[in-house]
Amino acid sequence: MFENATKQLRETVEAALPELNTVVGWRAGYDPLHMTPVFIKNAGDLSKLEWSPFCVQNLSGYLVKDPAVRAQDPSKKIGICVKGCDSRSLVALIQEKFIERNQIHVFGIPCRGTVDWRRVMKLGPLTGIQSARVEESRLVVEDANGGHTFALEDVLARKCLRCAHPNPVIHDVLIGEPVTPRVAVENSYGEVERMEEQSLEDRLGFWKKELDKCLRCYACRNACPLCVCQDRCIAETREPRWLTQRVGTSEKFLFHFIHALHLAGRCTECGECERACPMEIPVTLIKEKLNKITLELMSYEAGMDPEAVPPLLTFNPGETGL
């Protein structure tokens, strides 16, 4: 069912390509469950371009973090393929003036959810994967041992199961028909709410156990399209020296506080931090809580309106109850 969408994507990109520098999209990866980013510069590369529920990566980070993407002919736009969640990162980056709307050409793709290969692997240890495809509500994988079928609900990424914005909020062209959101944003914080129901001690215990696994490899930070400090991140600098290199749980806590509070009112819940974490720490959950707070206190949802100002970069003199 995604062959058509891929074909349509390729055709749409081909039509726009002469006006564009590069188009950032996805291509097949090292096995059929994985995709990897691709940079299409000429029509000859178009056949590499793919769209499927394995296109998990949020590519918008490349627009601000990849020097090769940034240093191109400014007279031409950069094309980028985005899912609903990814598009919100673009909006946040536009709000903060890291990219200009008229510098990008957005290929928006309504998305029914992406597959979390870790969940697949946990359900059925697979070896030598030969093919993988999504049919209706099932994932069918063939490996060395034959065919395996999984219910899609069991293998979708956590963020997709609570997705309130499956359709790109900005786009120049839309590939495919808009999708009905699974939940309204107000109802998308079920996991946060389950955490909130726990006792303070249990929550502390949970995070101590989870965050103690942190290696401070900074993969979460590097994967985040809005963690724009990169190698100047204060988790690593001596000037100022917020953190030492000591391996302690408090250091790990503080690092995740830095990461989370720097994203307060900015995070679009694309889930890249959690996907990138080699220790499978649910780090996006921390940001979900912060988003729930800004939604409840300031009625603000990040990455929706390019003209809006993130709530912690502004104030309202009249607001009470704060």
Partner: protein, 652 residues
């Protein structure tokens, strides 16, 4: 770094509840501390010499003084270490008096707390850097906001000192409340005779620019270089052409306009000059009553004006003034007596306010100086004054004393008996507040020479009886109920902050108290300064006061401006934000949040932009520092490393 720690005993102020020797002993064990001692009075001359001696002998590179609040003596000690050759920012204070010894008597806990505060100060000092001021030029023009007697005095004094002055007045004439007064206490001088010449001086001085009928729209900049936008309100009369002849007023058919200058005791015309001595003496059209604006059919004033000055198309105009200092003299308003329903102010024609009575007494007032009551124009035979209406009463949100009412009552009582010797006068009062020079004598004259009957007690109720008013009250000295029948009741309404005072304070970035009066920098020692450099206060906008105090304050503010302007440049505060360009990620969030517009883009080669702080505009709030994600922008002397050092000293 070699650090010296000096623990002050402050006599027994600190040593009484803190073991200062022990604090010094513990300080001696801290990293980098080369010398630690305790001293009786560190701020005294010998105390400061002791610090300077230690700096030289022990080769100190930084000094910590544990003593009183840095708000008290930080400047003192900074100068002291500077005289011994250290940069004044290589100094920290630990506040072990206001924050320790004075708030608890537990010697052991106090000693531990003081030692920890010293440890924090030392930890911070280890990250201190020498900082240096730069010089910025001073624009030697001053703006005075408010043209009452305080503002006039300030403007004239500045003008006499050779400064260019811009005077901004909200109303169409300067003069303020004093222009409405008949006489002044305790000399019973004619108010307009002493104020009038000063008002004339204002227009005759070449170096005073007067913007009447104008308000401050916005203020930007900083000490030495403010930019003020002034909104000149449309008066519908071209003041450069108007000669103040009054022909338009005479012919204006709209005759039922409340005469604000006469406190609504008379009617004015829709085109008007508020009073004969007005400065500038120019006509203004009141849009709300002018038939041209309300009905669209009159044009009389335009026809009769001999100079063609009337212009119905006039619009508000914004003028921009550049000044180096601002004196705020925005005065006050009077309490609305109708809040006390039981007194009948605003309900009964013959219950009036003190300022209305002032207009009645005035020869230029609504009755030509003849004392008549507003209801039927009869001469009153019995008059009652009620003191403290909107003063010293927490129940109406005015717990403070207005300071002038006791005196103006005495004055008005004396004048009443002068004008109408047969009239009987009563005063209901709480206490007599008459602390000025010749003030108490004046009140005594009212009582003894003029036979005014003072009754100590509050009035419960005022109600009409026939064509007279009955005043029911207490005589607390005799312990009896008193009832006085009167033809006229005068409510001595108190002083409150001027309408719009808070909004102006926010434009000026100065503080105000819960009543809207502006906060001086220090209640005793810096009474005319504000906490915003280059902004000074004069008159009642700072708090209730009488004319001589307002005039003195106007002169004092002018003197402060003269002192500021006596140099061509002023030193900037080096405690400003600084960008480390290598760390700046060009996100612009600092520029976005800076309340002062002190950060801008700096273009580097290759189209790269980095944030850049304008040190003369930066006020040192540190909002940018808290906002910057990679902490590329650091507020000098309150850097992340410095604050973290203090946190780590406590929590590591």
């Amino acid at each position: 770094m070699r650090i010296g720690v000096f623990v002050c005993q402050c006599g027994t102020n600190i040593a009484g509840t803190v073991d200062t020797q022990e604090v010094a002993r513990r300080a001696g064990n801290l990293p980098d501390v080369a010398y630690a001692t305790s001293y009786m009075y560190t701020c005294s001359e010998p105390g400061q010499q002791e610090i300077q001696r230690a700096i030289r002998e022990k080769n100190l590179q930084g000094v910590v003084v544990a003593a009183c609040s840095p708000r008290m003596h930080e400047p003192t000690f900074r100068r002291a270490v500077e005289r011994a050759g250290l940069n004044r920012f290589m100094f920290e204070m630990a506040n072990i008096r206001e924050h320790v010894s004075w708030i608890n008597n537990d010697r052991e806990a106090n000693t531990r707390k003081a030692a920890e505060l010293v440890e924090m100060a030392v930890a911070k000092l280890r990250f201190n850097q020498p900082l240096f001021s730069s010089q910025i030029s001073v624009n030697k023009r001053v703006m005075v906001i408010g043209g009452g007697v305080a503002g006039i005095q300030a403007a004239l004094d500045c003008s006499d000192g050779g400064l260019d002055v811009v005077l901004v007045e909200r109303k169409s004439s300067i003069g303020g409340k004093m222009a409405q007064l008949d006489k002044t206490f305790p000399t019973v001088d004619c108010s307009s005779c002493i104020l009038g010449p000063k008002m004339v001086d204002v227009v005759q001085k070449d170096n005073i620019t007067l913007h009447a009928a104008s308000e401050v729209e916005s203020i930007s900049g900083y000490v030495g270089n403010f930019t003020v936008e002034v909104r000149k309100k449309a008066t519908y009369v071209d003041w450069t052409a108007c000669t103040g002849c009054g022909a338009c007023i005479e012919k204006c058919p709209s005759r039922k306009v409340p005469d604000v200058f006469n406190e609504n005791l008379a009617n004015a015309r829709a085109i008007n000059i508020p009073f004969p001595q007005a400065i500038p003496k120019k006509a203004t059209i009141n849009r709300d009553y002018c038939l041209h604006f309300t009905k669209g059919k009159c044009g009389t004033c335009q026809k009769v004006c001999p100079t063609g000055a009337v212009n119905y198309e006039m619009q508000d105009e914004i003028v921009t003034e550049q000044v180096g200092a601002i004196i705020v003299a925005t005065g006050y308003d009077l309490f609305d007596a109708s809040v006390y329903g039981e007194y009948g102010g605003g309900r009964y024609a013959d219950v009036i306010s003190g300022i209305q009575y002032e207009r009645i007494l005035s020869a230029s007032g609504p009755f030509g100086g003849h004392i008549k009551r507003p209801s039927d124009g009869k001469e009153p035979k019995d008059i009652v004054f009620i003191a403290c209406v909107g003063s010293r009463d927490a129940s109406v949100g005015r717990p403070y004393c207005s300071g002038v009412c006791c005196m103006y009552i005495a004055k008005q009582a004396i004048l009443t008996r002068d004008h109408l010797p047969d009239t009987r006068v009563w005063v209901f009062y709480m206490d007599i507040r008459a602390p000025g020079k010749n003030y108490d004598e004046f009140v005594r004259r009212a009582q003894e020479e003029y036979g005014v009957q003072y009754i100590r007690g509050r009035v419960g109720k005022v109600y009409p009886k026939g064509d007279r008013m009955v005043v029911q009250g207490n005589d607390t000295l005799l312990g009896v109920q008193v009832e006085v029948e009167a033809d006229l009741v005068v409510l001595a309404t108190g002083i409150e902050a001027s309408a719009g005072a808070r909004e102006l304070a926010e434009k000026l970035r100065i503080s105000y108290d819960q009543y809207g009066f502006y906060m001086e920098s220090h209640p005793k020692l810096r009474p005319v300064e504000t906490n915003t450099a280059g902004v000074y206060l004069a008159g009642v906008c700072q708090g209730p006061k009488d004319i001589p105090s307002s005039v003195a304050m106007g002169s004092a503010a002018a003197a402060k401006v003269q002192a500021l302007f006596s140099r061509d440049t002023i030193e900037t505060n080096p405690q400003v934000a600084l960008v480390n360009e290598r760390v700046c990620i060009s996100c612009g969030k600092c520029i976005q949040v800076c309340p002062f517009g002190a950060i801008q883009w700096k273009e580097l080669r290759g189209g790269i932009r980095k944030a850049e702080v304008l040190p003369s505009v930066c006020q040192g709030c540190g909002l940018c520092n808290a906002t910057c994600p990679p902490k590329a922008i650091q507020l000098q002397h309150a850097t992340d490393n410095q604050i973290l050092a203090e946190v780590n000293a406590l929590c590591a």
